[in-house]
Every structure is written in C-alpha cells, then in structure tokens.
C-alpha cells in the first residue's frame, strides 16, 4: 500500500511542479473575446479581420476611417492634396508622430514598409494593392525576374542583388520622401479609393530597425534613414537565402519586446492562443484619456464557452457570436429581455457559386456551363424563405454581390428575384424539360439532368442547412435532383479552386470601399475567379471603370456592370448580406461601430461607467 501512496505522491508533486510554470493574466480595463485566432501581428502579412483589428491598435496608417460613415479622416498624415488629374498625391505627416521606442515616424518609414509589402520575398497576400503606383508592377517584375536569373548558390551575387533593392525601388517606383514629413505618391492611373486603401491594414507602416532586428547600439533617434544600414549578418530577423537569393524574414519580430509600433497601443503580452495584452502607448501623438488604458484579448475556440464567459462578466465584448443559440439571443433582445445582443450587417455576402465551365475536371458535361441554367437556378431560389426559416438572423436577402448601403454613392442592382415560372421557362429553353412525365427533367435524348452536387464546408451547420434548403427548393421548383457534399475546408478549398464542383458555397468580405473589391472576383483572369467565368462584357466593363475619372459616372457604370453580372452571366447566386452578432453592454461601453465595414478601432471604445 505504501508503494501506491508513493506513486500517488509522485504524481501530485509533478502536478505542483507544473503549476509553477504558469502565471495568471493581469486584469485589463477592457476584455474582449475572439473566436478567430490571431495569426500574425505583422501588418504586411495580415489578411484576417481579427489580425487587422489589432493591427489598427498597434500601428497607424496615413489615413483612417470615420467609423460612423466610413469617410476618410487624417491619421498619421495631418493633411494631403492631389493634382487635378488625381495622379499625384502629397501627404504631410504629423511632426510629433513617434514610434513606440521614440524614433520619429517619417516618410521613409512608409516607403520602406510599402517596398516590403510589394517585395515578392515578403509574400504578402495584398501585395497587388500597390500595383496602381507608378512603377510598382515593374519593380515586382524586376525582383521576380532577377531572382530567377540568379545563379543558384551564388551567395555574393544574391547579397549584391538584395543590397540593390532599396535604390532600385527608389528609382523605379513613384514614391518619394520630399522631406522627412512629406510623402509624394505618383499613380499610374487614377485610384478613386486610394485614401480608403491607405487606411487598410497591409498599408500600415512598420519600423525597419525592429522588423530587421538591427543591433540596439545603432542610434536611430533621428530616423533609421539617417544612419548607414548594418550588414546582413548584424540584422537578427532578416537574411539572404543562398539558394534562392530571396530575403528571408523571421516573422518573430512581431512579438512583445521587439514589436515597435506607432499606434495608440503597445503590445505587452502575447501568449499563443491564450491572450494578448495591449497597453496605451504614451508616445502616441493623438493619445487621449478616454480610451481603455489596457485591453486584453482572450481566445475562445468554443463559441458556447465564449458566451458563458460573457454571461459571467469575464468578457466585455464578444466580437462575433457563432453559438447556435444566437437566434434565441436575438429574439430575447427583440423582446426587450436583453440589451446586450446586437446584430450588425457586415460588408460581406453569403453566396453560392455556379461553375461556369462547359465540362467538369472528370470530363462530365457541366449543365451550368449554360447561363440560362444558372439563371433558372437563381430564379428558383426563395432566399426570403431561407433567411426566415433556416438562418434566422434577419439577414437582408440580396440579388447583388456588393452589399447594399455599404459604399457611399453606389447602388447595387436588383439582381434576379424569386420567379419560378421564368425559371422553368429558361430550363425548357435550355433543352431541359420533363419529357416522360416523371416530374424530373431530361434533355432531348432522354438523359436526366445530372444530379447537382452542392459543395459546402462542414465547419458550420449554417452552410449545410442553407445547402439543404437549396436542394429542396430546386427539387420542388425545377424538378432537378441535387445532393449535398460536405467537406472539410482544405478539401473544399482544393475542389473549389480546381473547378471540381457544380455549385459551391462562398462568403466574400470586401476590403476597400469600392464595388471592385467584390466585382474583381469575376474578372476572367483574377486568381479568385473560381467560377471560371470568362465574359467579355464583365472584363471590359471593369476595364472601362478603371479609367473613368468622374466618380459618379464611374459608380453608375460599375452598377451597370454588376447588373449584367448578376442578371445575365450569373456566376454567383447571392443569398444574403452577412449579419454578425456581437455582444456588449451599451450602458457600459460606447464608441462601437455599427457600419457594415465593421472596423472597430479599439482606441475609440469609451468606458461609460468609469469613475474618474
């Protein structure tokens, strides 16, 4: 028996020892929970909303949004002007803007950060945001081609090439630091949403000495551009790869201790998948006392637990509630039993994609290659029924891809409504009719309409339910059989990208305040054109819009292009605008945005009940 007690004691001791490894999180003024994990805090590498939210807290871009109507306001730039043709923009930076280590924020910081964004070596998702800048595309090409031409394993040549990047960029690209606080941007063509894009996370400036890991001994207090660059071996987080010649960056600079920002907050704690802690940055040029002095981001991967944590008061703000009971929560809010549940329309559309190719990868004929079939299926879809009985979040149904009331000056088209008679007529016209009276459609040689595969991801029950509703509606209204194919996201992604589907679900978030953030997905050569649509009308429509200088005429033209897309070509069956459910107590917190763009600046949150 004694031996068993000894074993038990050993286990207990091990337990106590393990406990020593841990430490609790210090309390914070504002705690919010994110169901989506933070992937990176490196602005140029960001592509997720949860990452960008923190990006805006740690860094400040040239411009920022007024989050009530998403008009533009000065941020790091205190003012700007543009030439009459809209091709040359001059930005004046705040004189007292500082990095969190005290270095001044200069025009050189922006230029270097954008060079980093553009550089193929950084492999940024959003590198093509910069292509409208004069010479940016050429620079990208130069770097890609000179890397390919590099003899393999020639370290000296690789280093020489890497050393020439800065000067080549300055020579080639239309970005110029007129002085430390004046930045000039020359565009290759007009970009009506330039100011909007400058506020977007990948365009945030980063601090070169921190990103590259320069030795502490180098004094950069007048700006890093005033001192000579340290050698490659001295830069801790960056190096030149001998094999490929590429600049290899160690992303671990973006962590507490090494991350230097210029935003309203600094990063004091980041424990992987556990919590992130921000504290007000005393050097921020527009610092104010009203914002939460400290913010804690807690990570919950189970939506129900996140909800319980909110209910128990441990969490002040749930950014996105995905628990199944959220429809009940909304009903309680509507009945006045709760005040903390808020449904917000997002800048995103839930849709299904039709494969527009004539054949499927396995050689089968794809009935959706005929646009009349696509139109028929879209017309036979009762979206209101889906929203009322399946998703039940009160989402606005839509026939357009671009969400309504989200972009100033843009009215999306009506698109195709619910019209069963017309749908049946179109299918008849396309040669699919019920010839033997069994209620199902066949072509002229008696072959039944192929069973329609509806591809969806199993990550959420929502998509399976919508897909099932589509199956039932199409069966009922069109006399066509469909089957559900649920897939894990990796398999789904591969099939969707390779065109191995007939109908596949999708959700698209807009990135900048212009319809092209949605419509470009349907451009024939766009990398996201999974539908395989190849339409001259759409391509020329978007090309023309890119050259139009009158904003109002351009918006009208884009609306007409979207109308052709949604009513004639129909690669996309939009279901509804996405509604996100968020929870906070409006009596305790103010400054929360209600605009569909849903960018929440943490420093705009106000603690209403705070005792002064």
């Amino acid at each position: 028996m004694l031996r068993f007690i000894v074993v038990l004691l050993i286990l207990l001791l091990a337990l106590v020892a393990l406990r020593q490894l841990d430490d609790p999180s210090p309390p914070a003024e504002f705690v919010f929970a994110s169901e989506n994990e933070v992937f990176t805090l490196d602005p140029q590498r960001m592509s997720w909303l949860a990452d960008m939210r923190l990006g805006y807290a740690l860094f400040e871009g040239l411009t920022a949004w007024n989050t009530d109507d998403f008009s533009m306001r000065p941020a790091l730039a205190e003012s700007w002007s543009s030439s009459p043709d809209g091709l040359v923009w001059t930005f004046t930076l705040h004189n007292d803007a500082r990095w969190s280590n005290g270095d001044p924020v200069t025009a050189h910081d922006l230029i270097w950060s954008w060079q980093r964004l553009l550089l193929p070596d950084t492999a940024a998702d959003y590198s093509n945001l910069l292509f409208p800048i004069r010479g940016a595309r050429d620079f990208w090409k130069w770097r890609t081609e000179s890397l390919e031409a590099l003899p393999e394993g020639d370290t000296e040549a690789a280093v020489a090439l890497a050393d020439s990047i800065d000067t080549t960029f300055t020579d080639m690209v239309g970005l110029e630091a007129v002085d430390d606080h004046t930045l000039r941007i020359e565009l290759a063509h007009r970009v009506p949403w330039l100011l909007d894009q400058l506020a977007f996370a990948p365009m945030l400036p980063v601090h070169r000495p921190s990103v590259e890991g320069w030795p502490e001994a180098i004094d950069t207090s007048d700006g890093w551009h005033t001192v000579p660059l340290p050698g490659w071996s001295q830069r801790r987080f960056i190096g030149v790869d001998a094999d490929s010649g590429r600049i290899e960056q160690d992303p671990r600079w973006a962590r507490p201790g090494t991350l230097t920002g210029n935003g309203p907050y600094t990063l004091t704690h980041w424990r992987y998948r556990r919590d992130i802690r921000l504290e007000a940055n005393p050097l921020y040029h527009a610092a104010n006392d009203d914002m939460p002095a400290s913010v804690l981001v807690r990570s919950f991967s189970d939506p129900n637990t996140a909800l319980l944590a909110f209910e128990s008061g441990e969490v002040d703000w749930l950014t996105g509630v995905s628990a199944d009971c959220r429809t009940d929560l909304l009903a309680q809010q509507a009945a006045g039993e709760r005040t903390t549940v808020h449904a917000r329309r997002a800048f995103a559309t839930d849709y299904f994609l039709f494969n527009c190719r004539e054949t499927l990868p396995d050689g089968r004929v794809n009935p959706f290659g005929d646009r009349r079939v696509r139109q028929a299926f879209a017309l036979a879809t009762d979206k209101q029924d889906i929203v009322d009985h399946v998703t039940r979040l009160g989402e606005p149904v839509t026939g357009a891809f671009t969400p309504h009331d989200s972009i100033d000056g843009y009215t999306p088209p009506q698109g195709l409504g619910f019209d069963v008679e017309r749908a049946r007529g179109l299918l008849d016209e396309a040669g699919w009719a019920d010839r033997d009276g069994d209620g199902l459609r066949e072509d002229s040689s008696g072959n039944a309409f192929p069973t329609v595969d509806i591809l969806y991801t199993t990550s959420s029950a929502r998509f399976r339910r919508i897909a099932a509703a589509l199956r039932d509606q199409w069966r009922r209204h069109l006399g066509v059989n469909a089957q559900l194919i649920g897939q894990d996201s990796k398999f789904f992604g591969a099939d969707r990208r390779n065109g191995n589907f007939m109908v596949a679900r999708g959700r698209w978030y807009g990135d900048w305040g212009d319809p092209t953030t949605f419509l470009e997905m349907c451009y024939s050569t766009n990398g996201n054109n999974d539908a395989g649509l190849s339409s001259d009308a759409i391509d020329t429509g978007l090309d023309i819009a890119a050259t139009q200088s009158d904003p109002a005429a351009r918006m009208l033209h884009l609306a007409r292009t979207e109308q052709v897309l949604m009513e004639h070509e129909v690669p996309i069956l939009p279901i509804c605008q996405v509604v996100e459910v968020t929870m906070y107590d409006p009596a305790r917190f103010g400054g929360m945005t209600e605009h569909p763009r849903l960018v929440q600046y943490l420093h705009e949150i106000r603690l209403l009940g705070r005792v002064e």
Binding site: S25, R45, A494, R496, G527
Partner: protein, 320 residues
C-alpha cells in the same frame, strides 16, 4: 531490468522514425497548402510559389529529409546554424508564423500535462475508492450504485459534462472562472471533467480485481491467521487487485497528458490537443510533425515507466 530499459531506449529512435514517416505521408496527402486560406482572397500565384519554395512545400522528399535532419537534432550535432537554435528544431509553425513549433510545444505541453495529471490523480482517488467499495460487496445496492455511476461516467460525452460544469461552477455560482488558464481555480473544472471517464474505467478494473483476489487462497490463509478484515484488504488484496490499474495507468496518463481536444475547447485551455486538431485541419505540417513526435516519445517513455513501476510493485515480474 537494466536490459529492459536499455532495449526500450534503443528502440525509441526507431519507433520515432517509423511514426515520423507514417505521419509525414498522411499529412502530406491532405490537399491544399498550409499557407493558403480556406476561403477568401488568395495571394497572387507567384507569391504562393515563393512561399511554397521557402518552406520546401513544393517537394515532399526535400521536406522529409530537411525536416528530419532538423527535428532529430542531426543538424544541431553537425553544427549547422552555429547551434544557436534548439537541439530538436521543429521549425516555425506554418500557420502561426510568429511562433516556432518549439515555443508552442513549450507553452502548451505543460498546460495539457497539468490538466492531464490532475485528472489522473483525481481519477485514481475516485476510481479506486468506488472500486473497492463495490468489489467488497458485489451485488449489493451500494455496488449497483457505484457501477451505475461508472457507466454514466463513461457514457456522458465530455462536452456535455464540461458545459454543465461551466454553467454550474462558473456562471450560476461564480465559484470558478469560465474558461481560460493561469490560476489553480482555472484547473479545477477541466480536471474534474477530464477525470470522469478515467475514474469510471479505473473503478471497474479495481472492482473486478478485488472480487477476484478476495476468492484467492492466500486471502483465506490470511483470514485464518486471524488478521483483521481491513488488514487483509489493504495489505494482501489491494496490491494484487490494483495491478491491472497500474498497467492501465501508463497509456491513460499519456492520453490525458497529451491533451483532450474536447476538454481544451470547452474550457478554452491553451493546451496541445485542440491545436493539434487545428494543425491537421489546416495542414500545418511542421506543427503536426512536431506534436506527433513529442506525443510518440512521451507514450514510449510512459510505457517504459509503467513497466518499471510494475516490476517494483510485483516481484513476480522482476525476473521476466
């Protein structure tokens, strides 16, 4: 004994190599790339190609060997990278690029181990005591109750137990925090939830063992010597009856310590189990390989530990 330990330790690298090869093959077959999002905007194809090349994702053979070299410590022994990195370098996480797999393991494994160990301790106390109670009076009402409880313990899914515990212990009474990690009170609810199935199984093993041993000849001898019933049970019956529990303890401890996906998800614990599942879903190759190798090593060592313990507890095993 020494031979056993030596043999097992010599086998360890071979076991790990086999596990590595098998896991790599399976993980490589997951479609898509770890660097790619399931949906939403995709980067330009050139960028995707550059990233794939950087992490050797364009060539299975290169990845297999270069990762094997780094993770096995060969690179370190050969002095590449001037031995600045860790000996066993599992590389950067492909999906959480600000972190290396070593850092993630170092941060998450202790959490999983702490929850797992406390669950096992709890399960031992609960399981052995109810097992003895039932085993000494088989067929009585008390036995039925404890047996019933153990069936319940095995059959209620962990996410139900977890959510009920969170509701009762966190939201309604406010006794414990709802999810998270950092203090002792964070550990109580998940440990209880995790321990129940183990406790139930241990209770059944103990009960069977006790019933069997109580009928053995040496028990009659002990009783006829006039020993107290308590002494008979504690001194003579239990050490033998608990041997199956000890052999179960090895794999059970390894399983509990390497993290439970459901428990970690429900209680928002930053442990390994959940992130391993996420890594597989996201095809985070370096993370998958790192976690599997550490798991495998842990399992082999745990089993070795149990064998040693076994020999210590049961003299009959020592010669074998």
């Amino acid at each position: 004994m020494k031979r056993l330990i030596c043999m097992r330790l010599l086998q360890l690298p071979l076991v790990l190599l086999a596990v590595y090869t098998l896991t790599f093959t399976l993980a490589w077959l997951i479609p898509g790339s770890p660097l790619e999002k399931a949906e939403g905007r995709r980067p330009p194809p050139e960028v995707q190609a550059a990233m794939a090349d950087r992490y050797d994702l364009d060539d299975a053979w290169t990845f297999y060997w270069s990762y094997l070299e780094r993770s096995s410590g060969v690179s370190w022994l050969l002095g590449e990278d001037d031995r600045t990195g860790p000996i066993f370098d599992f590389g950067p996480s492909l999906r959480h690029e600000n972190w290396s797999v070593n850092e993630i393991l170092a941060g998450q494994l202790p959490v999983s181990m702490a929850v797992g160990l406390s669950a096992i301790v709890l399960a031992l106390v609960l399981g052995v005591s109810t097992g003895i109670v039932g085993g000494l009076r088989p067929g009585t009402g008390l036995d039925l109750v404890t047996q019933g409880l153990s069936v319940v313990g095995v059959s209620i899914p962990a996410f139900v137990v977890g959510t009920v515990l969170l509701l009762a212990g966190g939201v309604w009474t406010g006794l414990f925090p709802v999810g998270g990690w950092g203090t002792l009170s964070h550990m109580v609810l998940p440990a209880v939830a995790l321990s129940l199935p183990f406790a139930a199984y241990i209770a059944r093993l103990t009960r069977t063992g006790v019933i069997e041993e109580m009928q053995a000849d040496y028990v009659r001898t002990a009783r006829s010597k006039g020993l107290l019933e308590r002494t008979v049970v504690l001194r003579h019956v239990l050490p033998n009856a608990l041997l199956p529990v000890v052999s179960y303890l090895g794999p059970a401890t390894a399983a509990a310590m390497t993290g439970s996906f459901v428990i970690e998800k429900v209680f928002a614990i930053p442990g390994l189990g959940m992130h391993f599942v996420d890594a597989v879903l996201g095809k985070d190759l370096t993370m998958i390989m790192g976690v599997v190798l550490v798991y495998a090593a842990l399992l082999v060592l745990m089993n070795l530990l149990v064998d040693v313990l076994y020999a210590w507890l049961d003299p009959r095993m020592r010669t074998a």
